[in-house]
């Protein structure tokens, strides 16, 4: 497939660098670019910058010095100073919705809609979560780890009642610790991975990144102090309730990746937090036509990048969790490294060295959490596509279920055609229908703009749209005379 060639006509002019995503990666990149005297346009669809890790409370909220929030505030404040630079334009609440040309970003938001031609584009759009559907997972009160962290970080909220956390991977620790720190009653934490495999991961990690491990140990202690039961090798099997969550069933992970229902236990719960892993949000790179590859050690489908973090599309860089799951430290460093590549300045030796270490660590960590068999708790009655309300049964019964093509299945079943644009369901459906990861990637529907749902009026408000070429139809009777 032809890759559009981005000839960075503006590469040496003073056209800004366009950074999409104001999370750790995007902010760090912007900071380094501004330090190098480059103009930057920073586009992010949230009200405030910070992305996932540095998610901010609403403007004006404050916190008492002893508030039990895990906010890493000092580092954020340091990064956020870049927003005051006259070289930086921040477009909050704005969606980068497409790329009319590889170097041009179309954006839309309440502040206006238009296009910006950049001297380079940096995709720093972050991760999304993996779904692990099971009966009852659509009930209000069942939330994802991101939902859980943002309750605390973005809204300053903690649930009353009993909290159960279940999942697979570092998110479980983070979510449970966040809830515990905020004062929630965390009763049970269920990690699907067996503890001995985690120990292996820990060992390989000690060498690479002791700081991060120390943090994990601290999280774990915090959760245990809060009195939660900690179970490894267990997974969620069902959620119960009518209008909202009432109870959660958990069960040991069987050898086939399914819950062993003979040993299922049901516990009361008011909030169930799911953390079944992250995957790179690769949509922007796919829309741009960047070459992609499947990398389990990076968490899934990622753009192919050179050592300078440039994608296969010249002038387009990809950094942070959107280019490979790595957490905040990797995101920060990648942002800086890409900035140096764009500026044409050598990256400080120390930075490059630390990146090599962290990169090794994150790849070991991602691999350690990869389960021998994918988890699977969905039964035929379980909703897979939340938007279109498609159950596993519907997908299996679809005439194209056996086509071996996700795209073909999508068109006949409506899988992934709702507001989430397939983010919640396409990957899981592929797995549940037995497509290999390679086939899934090969047959994945092409990503169609806009990158996120955008109100029609905002797309129509594009102030930089070129002239119309109306497709006036011919009228034969008139053409004749």
């Amino acid at each position: 497939m032809a890759n559009p060639v981005f000839t960075p006509t503006n590469a040496n002019s003073d056209a800004p660098v366009i950074v999409i995503g104001a999370g750790p990666a995007g902010l760090a990149c912007a900071q380094e670019l501004v330090a190098g005297n480059r103009r930057v346009v920073l586009i992010d669809d949230n009200i405030q910058p910070g992305g996932q890790y540095f998610r901010q409370l609403p403007p004006g909220y404050s916190t008492a010095p002893r508030a039990r929030l895990m906010r890493d505030k000092a580092r954020y404040d340091d990064l956020a100073r870049v927003l005051d630079s006259p070289l930086l334009t921040h477009l909050p609440r704005t969606t980068a919705w497409s790329f009319p040309q590889p170097g041009t970003v179309a954006h839309a938001g309440p502040l206006g809609s238009g296009r910006i031609a950049g001297s380079a584009v940096v995709i720093a759009t972050g991760a999304q979560e993996r779904s692990m559907p099971f009966p009852g997972w659509t009930l209000p009160g069942v939330i994802s780890a991101g939902g859980c962290l943002n309750l605390a970080k973005a809204h300053g909220l903690v649930p009353e009642g009993r909290v159960v956390v279940a999942g697979n991977g570092p998110l479980v620790l983070v979510a449970a610790a966040t809830m515990a720190a905020a004062g929630a009653r965390v009763t049970t934490v269920a990690e699907a991975q067996q503890s001995r495999r985690l120990a292996g991961a820990a060992l390989s990690g000690v060498v690479a990144a002791p700081g991060i491990l120390a943090k994990a140990a601290q999280y774990r202690a915090q959760i245990l102090r809060a009195g939660a039961a900690w179970k490894t090798g267990w997974m969620v099997s069902r959620a119960h309730g009518d209008e909202t969550l009432r109870e959660v069933s958990i069960a040991p992970v069987g050898p086939d990746g399914r819950p062993d229902l003979t040993r299922e236990r049901t516990i009361p719960a008011d909030l169930l937090v799911l953390g079944y892993g992250l995957m790179p949000g690769s949509d922007a790179a796919r829309l741009l036509g960047c070459r992609m590859e499947l990398r389990p050690d990076l968490g899934g489908l990622v753009p192919v990048r050179g050592p300078d973090l440039q994608t296969s599309t010249a002038g387009v860089y990809a950094v942070g969790d959107g280019a490979g799951i790595g957490g905040v430290e990797v995101a920060l460093i990648e942002g800086r490294l890409a900035a140096h590549a764009i500026l044409g300045t050598p990256a400080p030796k120390q930075l490059a060295h630390r990146y090599r270490t962290l990169d090794r660590f994150r790849r070991a960590l991602n691999s350690a959490y990869v389960l021998p068999t994918p988890l699977r708790a969905a039964d035929d009655d379980t909703i897979i596509c939340r938007c279109e309300e498609l159950r596993l049964r519907d997908l299996k019964a679809d005439g194209n279920a056996a086509s071996g093509s996700l795209n073909t299945l999508k068109t006949s079943s409506r899988l992934g055609m709702g507001r989430c644009q397939g983010r919640n369901c396409l990957h899981t459906a592929a797995g549940l229908l037995g497509l290999s990861p390679e086939t899934m990637v090969e047959t994945m529907p092409r990503f169609r703009p806009p990158l996120r749902p955008v109100p029609l009026a905002r797309l129509a408000a594009d102030r930089d749209a070129g002239p119309a070429r109306e497709p006036d139809e011919i009228i034969l009777s008139e053409a004749k005379d």
Binding site: S98, T408, M417, R419, L456, A465, E473, L476
Partner: protein
């Protein structure tokens, strides 16, 4: 039956059809129902090009006057298709408005509709007041409108799988991933593809926008130009526009389908060519398409757009489809390139099948003669 099956399995059939869109599938169904053995070839999966990605309008009002009878005949097929295929096709015949926003457009609307009525369209002119009463969601400054109860729509994504099931049950062998690379016409037809060779007594070309490339393999030049049509879809909304909306100048088609989503098209052009296989959005034209939709139906403004896409439609110089024998080849047939070919496809495919079967299709097809431009040039 079993011998026929063995023959098609060996790559031999009475008719080889190239192209598994709506034209090809209806042709296959017609032939197979009459007992012919059929192999249907497609370069990729069937039902993956225009027939799959189109906006699903089954408009009568938006057809050229001379095509009105054909559109109504095609509707005769659509009307009973759900029963025939035993499937929900998302088919609705709730009528449609055709609107004009300027005085020029209003004049054109008036002229064209008179002509269309002469050809059998059932439509009435609506006063602005009547329009506002019937369809308060259309912009109040709409200058003129006509209403026809004959317009409707169907869901392309439902029609395709149902047709596939049907033709397969009739014994048609579908071969996917069989891109035709060469055709040899001796006493028999030999079709060379990326999935092997196929032999037949007749060849039917129903390769949509690609039909000219297949004809060229037989040394025949058929003029086809390419339209890269764009469509956008909104999030589901409360049912309001329960019919289709078209435009006096053909530059807008709009409908709200069963799930509440609104589909917005109108032939605004994206980017791509047969050679490069790109089917990309032209962001400028997309924006203008959306602006026009919002101007005609202001209530669309807040709806979230979920996807925009583009697909290939082949177009003939006079916008009438091709249907008939390929010039110079008695056993090679062509049906392709109807503007509004989703609407017309059932009829066109059926007539092609009848032509192959009996040489006497049930409707006149001379205006669709594939030789009409080569004759003119000669």
């Amino acid at each position: 039956m079993n011998t026929a099956k063995a023959r098609t399995a060996a790559g031999q059939a009475d008719t080889i059809i190239v192209g598994g869109g709506i034209f090809g599938l209806f042709c296959a169904m017609t032939l197979a129902e009459a007992g012919k053995s059929v192999i249907l070839l497609d370069k990729g999966r069937i039902w993956a090009e225009a027939s799959a990605v189109n906006a699903g309008s089954l408009g009568v009002q938006n057809k050229l006057p001379a095509l009105i009878p054909y559109t109504l005949w095609s509707w005769d097929i659509w009307n009973t298709l759900s029963d025939r295929l035993g499937a929900d096709l998302g088919l609705r015949r709730n009528g449609g408005y055709k609107i004009a926003m300027t005085e020029d457009e209003a004049a054109r609307l008036g002229r064209v509709v008179s002509e269309q009525i002469d050809y059998g369209l059932d439509a009435q002119r609506l006063s602005p007041a009547a329009l506002r009463a019937q369809a308060p969601w259309i912009a109040p400054d709409c200058m003129a409108a006509t209403w026809s109860p004959q317009d409707g729509y169907a869901s392309p994504t439902r029609v395709g799988p149902a047709l596939r099931r049907k033709v397969e049950s009739l014994g048609v062998r579908i071969v996917e991933g069989a891109a035709v690379a060469a055709v040899e016409n001796g006493p028999d037809i030999r079709v060379l593809t990326t999935a092997g060779d196929f032999h037949g007594t007749e060849l039917a070309i129903t390769a949509g926008a690609w039909s000219a490339t297949i004809a060229a393999m037989l040394g025949v030049k058929i003029p086809i130009s390419l339209d890269v049509n764009m469509v956008s879809v909104t999030e589901p909304a409360r049912p309001t526009i329960e019919c289709i909306v078209t435009h006096a100048r053909g530059i807008l088609t709009l409908k709200q389908v069963a799930n509440g989503s609104c589909l917005i098209g109108g032939g605004w052009q994206g980017i791509g060519s047969i050679g490069d296989s790109r089917k990309d959005i032209d962001h400028d034209q997309l924006v203008h398409n959306l602006r026009l939709a919002m101007r005609v139906i202001p209530g669309l403004a807040p709806l979230n757009i979920l996807r925009s896409w583009a697909g290939y439609e082949g177009v003939t110089p006079d916008s009438y489809p091709y249907l008939g024998r390929l010039p110079g080849h008695d056993n090679v047939y062509l049906a392709a390139c109807a503007r509004g070919g989703f609407t017309l496809g059932p009829l066109m495919g059926t007539l092609l099948g009848e032509l192959i079967l009996t040489d006497r299709p049930s409707r006149p097809i001379t205006i669709f003669d594939p030789a009409r431009f080569s004759n003119a040039a000669a």
